[in-house]
Symmetry: C2
Subunit: 376 residues, 2 copies
Amino acid sequence: MEFTLVQKDLGSKARAGEITTDHGKIQTPIFMPVGTVASVKGVHQRELRDDINPDIILGNTYHLYLRPGTGILEKAGGLHKFMGWDRNILTDSGGYQVYSLSANRKIKEEGVKFKSHIDGSYHFFSPESVMEIQRTIGADIIMAFDECTPYPCDYNYAKRSMHMTHRWLDRCITHLNKVPEKYDYKQTLFPIVQGSTYTDLRKQSAEYIANAGALGNAIGGLSVGEPAEEMYAMTDVVCEILPEDKPRYLMGVGTPINILENIALGVDMFDCVMPTRNARNGMLFTSQGTINIKNKKWEDDFSPIDPAGITFVDTEYSKAYLRHLFAANEYLGKQIATIHNLGFYLWLTRTAREKIVEGTFTEWKNRMVKQMDNRL
Amino acid sequence: MEFTLVQKDLGSKARAGEITTDHGKIQTPIFMPVGTVASVKGVHQRELRDDINPDIILGNTYHLYLRPGTGILEKAGGLHKFMGWDRNILTDSGGYQVYSLSANRKIKEEGVKFKSHIDGSYHFFSPESVMEIQRTIGADIIMAFDECTPYPCDYNYAKRSMHMTHRWLDRCITHLNKVPEKYDYKQTLFPIVQGSTYTDLRKQSAEYIANAGALGNAIGGLSVGEPAEEMYAMTDVVCEILPEDKPRYLMGVGTPINILENIALGVDMFDCVMPTRNARNGMLFTSQGTINIKNKKWEDDFSPIDPAGITFVDTEYSKAYLRHLFAANEYLGKQIATIHNLGFYLWLTRTAREKIVEGTFTEWKNRMVKQMDNRL
């Protein structure tokens, strides 16, 4: 994997970059649509490729490990071939999903014992096993196994957890070196900064992670319920320490506003279920603000979903029609809203990149942040 | 509406024809995908148009009347504009849906009182009101209000019901003449033959319907549980009587085999929820037979869904991937299976037409009927 810093913004810490892997180029800043179990919910691969057009998508190790399982993925020749996606893929490490299981997992130094949400069977994830699983899934970028702490988090717990995440990182690196790649392309490990919302811990963690010398770095443990200002403060502290010549990935973030603010602080990569999950609940993100398409006010509004026309759904369907599909519980409604929202998120990061390159990012970002805060 | 008989098959009663309406040409035999509430479930209009490619789709009056309602449809300028479909649409009369409500409806000479499946509210459909509703929905082909009798059906009930359906037809015609079209294109009323599985009633009904002099005619009350042989016998009797120079529409039929057998008896138009509903349950129709994609045997079968490659889904996705999507309850699985099945049904009627024109229909039909009877 290579990373080229194309342009630094003068008015902020935003950067435009380009990552190159064996599955092609990723222009940053980038939003990665979430394809949890080898599918971006409700979206055909053709639409993902041609209409939404991201350079990279995300898969979830926890879910893929349970279904279809590593046996099938290995027989298929990896996740790319299994799902028919020939661009980049990143997989998380399962750390966040295991953390989300709360009552159904037990975290120890050795690793995490957890109960499957599907059939209640018990499983064990360790830094070593997660590296092996990710070798089999075969994503281009794979994540270190970490503990994602909740918010709020007791200082001492956050500190102990952070140190364990660091020790787990060392185990990940050691083990990954022993397990060769399974397919004919390279995989790159990103370590993860933790430290909850404590500045001193975040600094300490960022230094530890920076010293690991990985080709890219991630910030975890944010967007778990803390106020946006705390998130931005932590991102800022961490981005100051993480090397400038490596891509920075902020995990699980966020709203369109969160994304622009974090780009301004030096983040290059994002993922979040928000555009897809909220779409399925009838919430549309647009450059003019958010729309709850279920509202009766759209019942006889025959104007296009979004006059911006980023994807085909925006102009092929009217608000009234989309509102009807949600009222009638027709799945096509969720499909339309998902394509709209993902198209919008990709437009947002693509446009942020253009503005950085043009040198007009900050002005544009400040205007967009205001506009997008509206409820239409 | 015009109908041209292009070619009659020598070995059977099959015909190739062409219907022309203000929304374009319909090449027959044709299968009409069902878009119950202004959406073919899980299929974008773009996919319907470009990949599945039917000349006509079907909407359900009962469902559209309840949601979005005639007020919204009228404001939209009719169903075509509301849903963004500029080819032909046919709407049923609500007779079949009302019949399906069984306990929640009361049929009288005046019409049918029924309870909405959505909110339990009471409504009343009469031949007159259904003509007005269909004027507002604005389909190109609209159906007379009828009673669809169950199977088995007592002879006397079937006879009384048939006569009422005939009287309702007269009321439909009279009332339709008084209610002008609402949009800038013509609508054509198709009357419906009833008579259950009684040859004498079917003959009597076919004669009554033929005498009404409509531009197209339909056969209702079949595919309600009777053996296929009884269905074919009734179709045969009715097609002998319905005028040759008008299209014949067999309502709610059926399996791919049913469709070919009925084409051989002189039917031109079909609709059925089977390809879409069965798709959502993981059943795929192919020219080699049916596939239950949920079966474990497909778990590691990485071959294309259908090597025939009728629509993009057939070759872009593997059986193993589709099986995984069903196992993981990912909606994309239903979307893929729906496009596959509709693509196959349209291929089937399109190919039947080609074979009729070529003069090789019967031989091909007999071979297909055998092949499609397999379970793969």
